[in-house]
Chain length 349, copies 4
Amino acid sequence: MSNTHKFKIGVVGGTGYTGVELLRLLVQHPNVKLTAVTSRSEAGQAIAGLYPNLRGHLDLVFSEPDIATLADCDLVFFATPNGVAMKMVPSLLEANVRIVDLAADFRLRDPLVWEAWYGMPHACVNILQEAVYGLPEVNRDAIAKARVVANPGCYPTAVQLGFLPLLEQGLIDKHHLIADAKSGVSGAGREAKVGSLLCEASESFKAYGVSGHRHLPEIRQGLTLVAGHEVGLTFVPHLTPMIRGIHATLYGRVTVDNAGDLQALYEERYRNEPFVDVMPQGSHPETRSVRGSNLCRIAIHRPQGGDTVVVLSAIDNLVKGAAGQAVQNMNIMLGLAETAGLEQVALMP
Amino acid sequence: MSNTHKFKIGVVGGTGYTGVELLRLLVQHPNVKLTAVTSRSEAGQAIAGLYPNLRGHLDLVFSEPDIATLADCDLVFFATPNGVAMKMVPSLLEANVRIVDLAADFRLRDPLVWEAWYGMPHACVNILQEAVYGLPEVNRDAIAKARVVANPGCYPTAVQLGFLPLLEQGLIDKHHLIADAKSGVSGAGREAKVGSLLCEASESFKAYGVSGHRHLPEIRQGLTLVAGHEVGLTFVPHLTPMIRGIHATLYGRVTVDNAGDLQALYEERYRNEPFVDVMPQGSHPETRSVRGSNLCRIAIHRPQGGDTVVVLSAIDNLVKGAAGQAVQNMNIMLGLAETAGLEQVALMP
Amino acid sequence: MSNTHKFKIGVVGGTGYTGVELLRLLVQHPNVKLTAVTSRSEAGQAIAGLYPNLRGHLDLVFSEPDIATLADCDLVFFATPNGVAMKMVPSLLEANVRIVDLAADFRLRDPLVWEAWYGMPHACVNILQEAVYGLPEVNRDAIAKARVVANPGCYPTAVQLGFLPLLEQGLIDKHHLIADAKSGVSGAGREAKVGSLLCEASESFKAYGVSGHRHLPEIRQGLTLVAGHEVGLTFVPHLTPMIRGIHATLYGRVTVDNAGDLQALYEERYRNEPFVDVMPQGSHPETRSVRGSNLCRIAIHRPQGGDTVVVLSAIDNLVKGAAGQAVQNMNIMLGLAETAGLEQVALMP
Amino acid sequence: MSNTHKFKIGVVGGTGYTGVELLRLLVQHPNVKLTAVTSRSEAGQAIAGLYPNLRGHLDLVFSEPDIATLADCDLVFFATPNGVAMKMVPSLLEANVRIVDLAADFRLRDPLVWEAWYGMPHACVNILQEAVYGLPEVNRDAIAKARVVANPGCYPTAVQLGFLPLLEQGLIDKHHLIADAKSGVSGAGREAKVGSLLCEASESFKAYGVSGHRHLPEIRQGLTLVAGHEVGLTFVPHLTPMIRGIHATLYGRVTVDNAGDLQALYEERYRNEPFVDVMPQGSHPETRSVRGSNLCRIAIHRPQGGDTVVVLSAIDNLVKGAAGQAVQNMNIMLGLAETAGLEQVALMP
């Protein structure tokens, strides 16, 4: 562990929940070294002052997000609000810095769709075209060569990994997919909002954004590519009284006479995937079984042998749904072992 | 309030969560008087010793569940495990006592279906035939005259009230209904089970019983009666890290060309229902908005104007999903105001 | 209930947690009628839109906090931030409106102490002099005649009720009292603060304000009056991962040779208090046993018969610690039954 | 990491919460190899079936707790109920196996005190005499040479580390120490008990065991050794609605005229301790800042400069309060780096 080469890594916007989770993973990663963590609002402050879990693990202070400092990095993560990365990425690419963006700036291929859902014009459409959607289970080879990787959203990760095998094989009605998804409150970020207060969000459960959520076009885009055909999707996110975790319950109607052994299909599809765990027949994955880990655990059911298939997909929204997948993408981009720094056992109980 | 007549009420099995919730409601009810609360395991103990929230409100001790004591009541509630009520009800009917059973003994009309799902033969099939399913929004008149009312299950209440207007009007594909339902942990009862421990059930989310849950045949029976046609239903219950609340997210596919104004349909259907609140267009009911109250709050959505309709239905599983609905049924049976003793404002936050 | 006279009541600042709790209690109160609920920020909006638990119970809209409207009330509650009431109270007194202030404006008798802890000069020192501290268990008679009642803070209520009998009898060392108090997060209010987010405050426990909390001088003032001698108090508040509830664990050193039967002392002291429940010897009150109710439950211990006495005192911080006690004060001021509208059974589980 | 020697480790009683936490730490430890995990009730079952967080990390099945299998280990942990280890340890010592007992069997030096608090005679008093109390910050050298280490209780760890510097220096009244301690529910174990149900323990706070808790004699014994004088201690444990974490709030009265700079005292005392973090002046440690980590974070206050000193001490009860400290003891016993396998960053949020 001593004198191995360590890649220099920067993090822009390290104060939110995906930011601190990225720092947790990176300070324990054997092959990288954090050289800059920026925050406009906290510049000059010790990072471990804001996040005491990092006391003793990280001595950096937050720095101003300036290109000069970041240009010295091998790779830079953006854990910023939507719309920030697209303004800084062009300069960093010129300095040969590779990018993983945890926000949405490079997730949607069509700039008009992006503009419609995010309410601002895209600042670098040409880079958007070359950016690779960072779902390793689909795009591993392209990620390895990419200069810019768009790290998927949390819901899109859980939903796509759950539906993939069925859509790849054309087994279900692709016009009427249903994704009923439940997220812990950390998905709403560290922003001081009334709706995220403990007194508002604990001991309660609700749906939100039923009329339309920004992850809808992202999921639709991903599933459409896999299905080879425009898919129809009803996506209903819900707020769950817990900190971490996403559970997606997916419904599809089987449209072929003999769909075969779906359990075997899933096991085969994900056999070599280090971070997708197809659980035994009849299982019900719990979000806590992936708390703090980069795994997506999946179970597939066909209740009463009917024509509706139910897939259960569980991730930690901050890990496989954000920072962990970002590190997984970084590992692939830098030619490291894909699992480096990502083998934590979930915290249970 | 002084010298009004008070009905004499008994509760069999008052130690579980539906039992104590029933006691909370009954001690505050203006027209009834608790005369016997039985518990085999706690006989002789002060009720308020087990449930300190009742200190100062109820001076009774638990008594043995014997027929003689209960025979003096006008009406007896059973808040017992499945299979208990059906053994005692025949004797109580002979004594002219009316019955509301909060367990499942009288919910399924077909004794063979009951036996298949509950794993025991039914002990009084003839009474099963006369029992009335106690969903007042459907069966109010029959409840008024019934000797035995089968109080609906918690999930079945939320799901049926959510689907009713659509099925009554024949607007959706009745063969492919989907009910994705989420319950707080009190739905699992007060039994000491590892899966209900705080350390197992908090900070986590999971589905359970995907292959088949006892509330499935109950919901199917109720919806079939309303639809006038055997319905097909996929029902997936989930465990949510909170004490109280059920949120059902219901999906149906619209099958008629002009389904009309669904918001107006729901408002009209429930206009005179004291305990169903159709929320304004675009709403997302929170379970906490009904915590401790007998209301079911409903919102109806048609995302992106597509052919999938999404209904959100929220209740307190211990109130409208159990004890509150039981009191509502009692009120109807005894000719009291339907809302008597049931006008509590939900506790929020 | 029909044609009884109803007092006209106003609430200034009805959008916070003590505000909505006050509304929950007042809409169910048999002897009062809400005529004005003001909020500068929400004026014109339906109250039940902000707090859906009030749908069907309250049809008012928030109005601007203007004196003219409020002057028509018999009594006005202030559920406003500190410093608001003291500016409006003089005008309302001129209009013969009586006042219960749930904020801190009239709690500390010494205007210099007030200024030191609240960081602003007091706006109406003369009224401060006449204001009565609204702890009914100490000041019932004065409250009945008061024009302005300062409703006690949440911690001060739990701590004072716990220490009272010991200090009244002079049984413990009054120079070294210790109050280790734990509060649910609703004590921090409905303001959007990072520290109150579910992701910050759940699944964690911490002390705060150890160097000095605004409730320290309030408690010290109250205990000093009772003890007849300046008391010394170490007060350490803690944030507990739950919505409602305060639990104070109080430590005192017995200084007399024969302190007598402390259980009997407490039972005797609170025998006629409708809202203080001295639990049986050996009890450990749970905050949930008072959730939503106006009770303070107390237990007294003397571990291993040593010279340290331990008092456990539990309240719902939003009820006996705020809105419920305010209604209790209102009842006393208006000559109503002290328990009117306050007999709710705690919600458990 | 490749061909280094790995010590063979056994775990007796791997099904409880301290057991699974031990497994989480050991499967990630670079210098050890799990060779046997026993459970009488689960023998033959895959460990990862019971604890899905271990899927992919541990392929063992639970085996019967028999001496032959365990005798092959270099070191065996007991994560069993009290009274089990003392029956098996003699045979294992004969086989030259070293022992870390996470239960209470070897914590109290006086067998009569043990018998009084644990309700059974001690089975191996001679081994009790040689056993070393495994608080490394006090007994590091003795631990290194010990055959049997008694791993401290969770409360005793937090309380002793908090009081140590003050008692070592004789700065406070040792006859009247107060420890007001709060624990998450995992401290009650994985046993199916009503009091540990989510519906009983969440959204509530209570004290328990005020008349006497088994950790009282353990803490008293440890503090007495440090103080060189029998100490007097009032210990009040509380149940907090969260899974993990202990927060001890400690009170002592300063008895010397010039106690000096207490912050500097603590920093100096723990300067070389890898797992005790003295936080900056004025801090309030949060239990979440140590969730999943082996740290004890401490802050020291002297409110208003009075004569009462307040120490805040936070640990994860399952890590520094149990399994992590056990691994720390193992590291010391086996001559490994004391921090090996224990450098996880706390999970936050």
